[in-house]
């Protein structure tokens, strides 16, 4: 019948109040946003300046402060879809093996004869020609010994290179597993670099996502144009290796003109005095991996290309025992001691690393330069004014739509129409509340989705009210009619909304960008409108009915 148990009433009330509280910051959008930015700044370690404190005072701490993110089409900004040229990396990886291989073959000269690299081979293959074909097997075995087992989920038990020999030529290729692993590393690295680049620009909430095997989606609100964003991403991180001349306590310490003072990355307050000229630069680094040293301690390996290897070999041979610094974007990542001459073009950095640190250092080192070229498949720029225009237009349209629907509902259903209107208001608050809570993004089609929900949200109410009208003709008494109305309209409401919800799910799964935003608002709108129509209006009607106990009702 018409009873609603106390706990149900309280739950409904609680959900509505929670929804309103979560939605509230959106009403004071700029204030809440300033507060949020200030909180983020402090979390990142910024000092509490008067400005930040002023921003913090914009919003009370005890209230939820999350706001709905505005999509690029509303806030303005740039959107890029980039495709990473994964094959680029194969060639440089294979190049990196050459010095090591030449060194491995050198002691075997009496068996294999002279060694020469065949430069006409495809870029992702290394072909080595030996002058004594009889020594082929010895050479192949020697090179196979250089192969490293791959540590990855898919490539267990496989080596990184495949060595085969025929006649006087030995061919070295990356194994399939190594290619897959390389692809994953290339993507992780590209994402990392792009994130670092974009973060440096200090924009709010950029989206940087991997899409599919070789694509990266980059969305940065508030940036002037896609062109600017491309320049930002395209800049190479500067990685250099410098001889260390001493320690310093401040950046301003006076040093010779051929020296510079740079801060340590991890240790604030620690500074190094370095030689200004770099021994090797990141342009020569082809790879860096987390590894373990002889004593089982986490370490980071690195590998140079041939020219880098030569320069590094000469320098380390002359400076065993001294320190050299790995500098990234003018910060010293690490400053290890040279234990021995490093001639193979690859080396290992041991320090007080944990496994995670070694991992991160390797990423940082690799992140020095974008590992592969990128082609931009899609780029969109939306100016902030256009976005603001859209927001304004959307606001006006929503208000007008709302007002019209309210007038229409009250004219048609009187008091019950008023209940439906209150429920509609709560519904919209809930949509914004849920969107803020899940960190959803509001796009222009999303606003249309909300307006559409306003129109359709009353549908469930209309179904119930119409049903009550019908039941009033036959049922005994208004209480029974209301109860029956809700009961019998339920199956139509549920079926109708489940089918629409299915569409929202499909849109979300297959759509991208603004379409996805639309799917999210539509889906949330369906859930909240069913909730408000079935529970909130019902609660309102029950409360009213219990007070008045009317003998007759008109719907």
């Amino acid at each position: 019948m018409l009873e609603l148990s106390l706990w149900k009433r309280l739950t409904i009330l609680l959900v509505c109040l929670a929804g309103l509280a979560v939605a509230l910051p959106n009403v004071f959008y700029t204030r809440a946003e300033r507060y949020n930015d200030a909180v983020t700044a402090i979390e990142r370690g910024a000092a509490t300046t008067p400005e930040i404190q002023a921003d913090l005072d914009q919003w009370p701490d005890f209230l939820p402060s999350a706001v709905v993110n505005l999509g690029l089409d509303l806030r303005g900004g740039a959107h890029l879809l980039a495709e990473v040229q994964l094959e680029d990396v194969y060639a440089s990886r294979i190049d990196g093996y050459w010095p090591e291989m030449r060194n491995a073959l050198r002691p075997l000269r009496d068996q294999v004869g002279g060694v020469q690299r065949d430069r006409t081979a495809p870029a992702d293959e290394l072909r080595v020609r030996i002058s004594n074909p009889d020594g082929l097997q010895v050479a192949v075995d020697a090179l196979r010994d250089l192969a490293q087992p791959i540590v990855s989920l898919t490539g267990v038990g496989q080596n990184d290179i495949e060595v085969s020999g025929a006649g006087d030529t030995i061919t070295v290729k990356l194994s399939e597993a190594e290619r897959t692993a390389t692809d994953d590393r290339t993507m992780a690295q590209s994402l990392e670099i792009i994130r670092r680049r974009v973060d440096e620009a200090g924009t709010r909430e950029p989206t940087i996502q991997r899409q599919g095997t070789d694509r990266i989606l980059i969305q940065v609100p508030g940036i002037g144009s896609a062109q600017e964003l491309k320049q930002l991403i395209g800049t190479t991180a500067k990685l250099t290796f410098h001889p260390v001349r001493g320690n310093a306590t401040s950046r301003d310490q006076r040093v010779d003109s051929d020296q510079i003072v740079l801060p340590a990355l991890d240790d604030p307050g620690q500074f190094y005095i370095l030689e200004r000229d770099a021994v090797v630069t990141g342009d020569d680094l082809v790879d860096s991996q987390p590894a373990f040293d002889q004593n089982g301690r986490p370490a980071v390996t690195f590998r140079f290309n041939p020219s880098g290897a030569r320069a590094f070999g000469v320098y380390t041979a002359e400076n065993v025992g001294s320190l050299f610094a790995v500098v990234l974007d003018n910060e010293v990542v690490t400053a290890p001691q040279i234990r021995e001459a490093i001639t193979g073009g690859s080396g290992q950095i041991t320090g007080n690393f944990t496994v995670e640190e070694a991992n991160r250092q390797a990423i940082l080192l690799r992140a020095g330069a974008l590992p592969a070229g990128m082609t931009f498949l899609e780029e969109r720029t939306v100016g902030p004014e256009l976005g603001q225009d859209s927001i304004d237009a959307g606001k006006v349209a929503s208000l007008v739509a709302m007002a019209a629907v309210v007038v229409f509902m009250i004219a048609s259903y009187g008091l019950f129409g008023t209940f439906a209107t209150i429920a509609l208001g709560i519904n919209i608050a809930l949509i914004f509340g849920v969107l803020s809570m899940i960190g959803g993004t509001l796009t222009l089609p999303g606003i249309a989705g909300i307006v559409l929900t306003i129109g359709m949200a009353v549908d469930a109410n209309v179904l119930v009210f119409e049903r009550i009208r019908e039941e009033l003709k036959t049922a005994r008494g208004p209480a029974r009619a209301i109860a029956l109305g809700y009961e019998r309209a339920l199956s139509a409401i549920v079926d109708a909304n489940i089918t629409t919800f299915i569409i929202a799910v499909i849109l979300f799964t297959l759509g991208s960008g603004p379409v996805r935003g639309f799917a999210v608002t539509l889906g949330i709108g369906i859930l909240t409108s069913v909730f408000t129509a079935i529970f909130v209006t019902r609660l309102l009607i029950v409360l009213w009915f219990e007070r008045r106990r009317p003998k007759q009702i008109e719907v």
């Binding site: 931009f376 498949l377 629907v405 359709m456 119409e466 379409v515």
Partner: protein, 321 residues
């Protein structure tokens, strides 16, 4: 005094016109297909690739001058349209320039965009560029595939859901109605040459959602009445169901249309195509729920074996939540 869109107890013979309306629907669908094939859709860059640049200026737009400024750049086919909208300020003159995919380039080069911008600034120093969008041919091909997949997947999902909840005849009827709505929408987009892009696909799916919503409500009543009136001929039960739900159908379409009109007039030109598609779909969808979905069910007939405990519906029909 309450607003009543329909008299209280209607008993209109909707199904009497079923042959005409069904014929009209078939003709409209064929006409839509012909227009679609003959005129074609005005695909946006989402599906064709290329670049669109939106310009805004306080000076009035002279398409001829813009074209003369851009022709020397040798960018191939360039389409320039001036946009008009009631939400624009009096001195806000907006135009849209569309450049086709450049041979061999995945995405338009920054130099091209810079060239276009400086050429236009040459003829109108007050011009600004509120948005620049560029989509490469590779992505646009994939977007078409995904879009078709989305529409197909929705139809199949709905076919399956209605079949679970009702009977197969109902699900065929519902999907026939959806096909009708989608084809008519494509038809009007071809006829009026409204830009057809990703957002339009979202709109199409929304139409599917709305139309199925409407169809399901009438089907639900039909299912209920089929159990109540076991001996009445199917066509009369249908008429009764449509009459009983008429008030609700008009109320819901009415409120939704009011909301959409507000958006159509005041929502700005960027989403106008999107809103128009939904607006059209609500009208067509309401019509097709009555005249396409039910007609198909009527033609297929419903299995009304009196020995069965329930005449309509499968074992999932009486789940109420």
């Amino acid at each position: 005094m309450r607003l009543r869109l329909v008299p209280q107890d209607t008993n209109w013979d909707f199904m009497r016109w079923r042959h005409y309306t069904f014929g009209a629907s078939i003709i409209a669908m064929i006409a839509s297909l012909i227009i679609w094939l003959a005129v074609g859709l005005n695909f946006g860059i989402d599906f064709l690739g290329g670049t669109t640049i939106r310009t805004e200026s306080t000076q009035s737009v002279d398409i001829g001058v813009y074209r003369d400024a851009l022709t020397p750049l040798g960018l191939g086919d360039i389409a320039i349209t001036e946009l008009f909208d009631p939400t624009f300020a009096p001195d806000q003159n907006v135009a849209q320039i569309r450049i086709q995919v450049q041979d061999g380039a995945e995405s338009v080069t920054p130099e091209t965009i810079a060239d276009v911008k400086s050429a236009l600034l040459g003829v109108d120093p007050a011009i600004t560029f509120p948005s620049v969008e560029s989509v490469g041919p590779k992505v646009s091909g994939e977007l078409v595939t995904t879009a078709l997949l989305a529409v197909g997947a929705s139809l199949i999902a709905i076919l399956f859901y209605i079949w679970l909840r009702f009977e197969w005849q109902f699900s065929v009827g519902a999907v026939a109605a959806l096909f009708h709505d989608v084809i008519l929408t494509i038809g009007i987009f071809s006829l009026l040459q409204i830009r057809f892009d990703l957002a339009t696909i979202a709109a199409l799916l929304t139409i599917i959602g709305y139309s199925i919503n409407d169809t399901v409500v009438i089907f639900d009543r039909l299912r209920e009445n089929l159990i109540k009136f076991k001996k009445t001929p199917l066509i009369d039960v249908m008429n009764k169901s449509v009459n009983e739900t008429l008030s609700r159908t008009l109320m819901t379409s009415g409120t939704t249309l009011i909301a959409l009109i507000a958006l159509l007039v005041l929502g700005g030109d960027v989403i106008r195509g999107f809103v128009f598609a939904i607006f059209w779909g609500v009208i067509v969808g309401t019509y097709s729920s009555v005249y396409v979905a039910k007609n198909v069910v009527l033609m297929l007939g419903v299995d009304r074996d009196p020995k069965k405990p329930s005449d309509a519906g499968t074992q999932f029909a009486n789940i109420d939540a």
